[in-house]
Symmetry: C2
Subunit: 260 residues, 2 copies
Amino acid sequence: MKDSLRRFQVEKISAEGWEEEETSVIAEKPVTLFLNDKEVVTLLATPENLKELAVGFMLSEGWLQENKPIQRVEVDPGGSVRVRVNYHPAMSEKLFLRRTITSGCGRGTIFYNVLDSLGAKRIRSAARISKEQVFRLMRDLNQRSVLYRKSGSVHGAALAEGKKIRIFCEDIGRHNAVDKVLGAAFLQGVSPAGKILLTSGRVSSEIMVKAIKRRIPFLFSYSGPTDLAVDMARQTGVTLIGYVRGNRLRIYSHGERVGR
Amino acid sequence: MKDSLRRFQVEKISAEGWEEEETSVIAEKPVTLFLNDKEVVTLLATPENLKELAVGFMLSEGWLQENKPIQRVEVDPGGSVRVRVNYHPAMSEKLFLRRTITSGCGRGTIFYNVLDSLGAKRIRSAARISKEQVFRLMRDLNQRSVLYRKSGSVHGAALAEGKKIRIFCEDIGRHNAVDKVLGAAFLQGVSPAGKILLTSGRVSSEIMVKAIKRRIPFLFSYSGPTDLAVDMARQTGVTLIGYVRGNRLRIYSHGERVGR
């Protein structure tokens, strides 16, 4: 955690006037990922859980296979992460689905193909959850957010099972926080399928795709979803709950899994 | 605005119990950009101010030149935007600086080159601002955020001059909101140089780069910056103010421009 926060001398203005103050600021560093010695991407991320970030990102992109082991993951002192697998990774340009999809990395129409292919794999889960469980898990997410409390500008994500958070990570980027959690799950041999994904951030289509790919039937957020994320959740069978605040929440899809 | 919000039937749980409710959800659509008939990128964005988004994004990437006119910008009904210029656009891969920089689009080391080249262009501005002006502008940003009030999950950005907001835009993405504002400024013939950029979102290095490229000496946010953004602001001469909330704020850099 010590590399994830930096102390800065700033000036603070409040009702008490103008004063000098030392404050914590969240760290953002370029992290270059290598897969089998090939440089594949540079992410801007908070420099902790970098092995988990690399693995989670590569899984989200579809470059690594969920059912095959990773040989080695190493973090260089300079911040690069090297992942090695003993199979030929599927560096398909088709699955490179991000906020920006450059013509070099895939075509706009790919987006719709991804939606189509996801729609085909419906998530069937008989798991149920109570509203008290949702409130408790989201309170727990908040309590674990150490960097958030110290710097104010960071996203938290977690993988939970039943009433317990199993894995928790933070990052300046909401995509990174989710990728770190899913990478950690893979490295610990925990399958996310059937479990619960928690996020502090907005649920855009990209976050929803990460959950659907891992067959996660529950996705909860403090914040709200986009219309595309709601469409995808309804189509694929994800219970999407947003605006979990205090004792309030909104169920956007598949409320039949929430006990009354 | 009508395309930017969609109504969904959801279930709401609160202290009053469980009820059906119709709620507004922010829209997210893939928007494919073409520059001189070449497909260049697909963004996920809220479908309003798409001309401004296309132009602002292409300026941020360094593909369009600030001092040359645009011949035509057209939005297709399907959501594509076609930008035409009568010069050869600099589609330099070097300037493709985003959250993820793929090996196809640029190398990790490029990032440092961008910082170096930005550091060289110091922003010298004799402009001054009072703390009351900062509070008033950020209150004004909040009041204009119509989509935010209706959907809760959207970012606002604005270009201001003196005490007045000149241009305001919203988007599901904080990068998009800023690009829309800067694209609108270009299309209206308003130079952002010397003016004030307001954002509701976190100030990461990418947001800071957009401001520095336009020679904007003031950047204010409700939220906090990253350490990299603070470093860049200090190095290039941007007055960076964060956590503007009620009558409190924090000055991270170049407080000499804030009147006492």
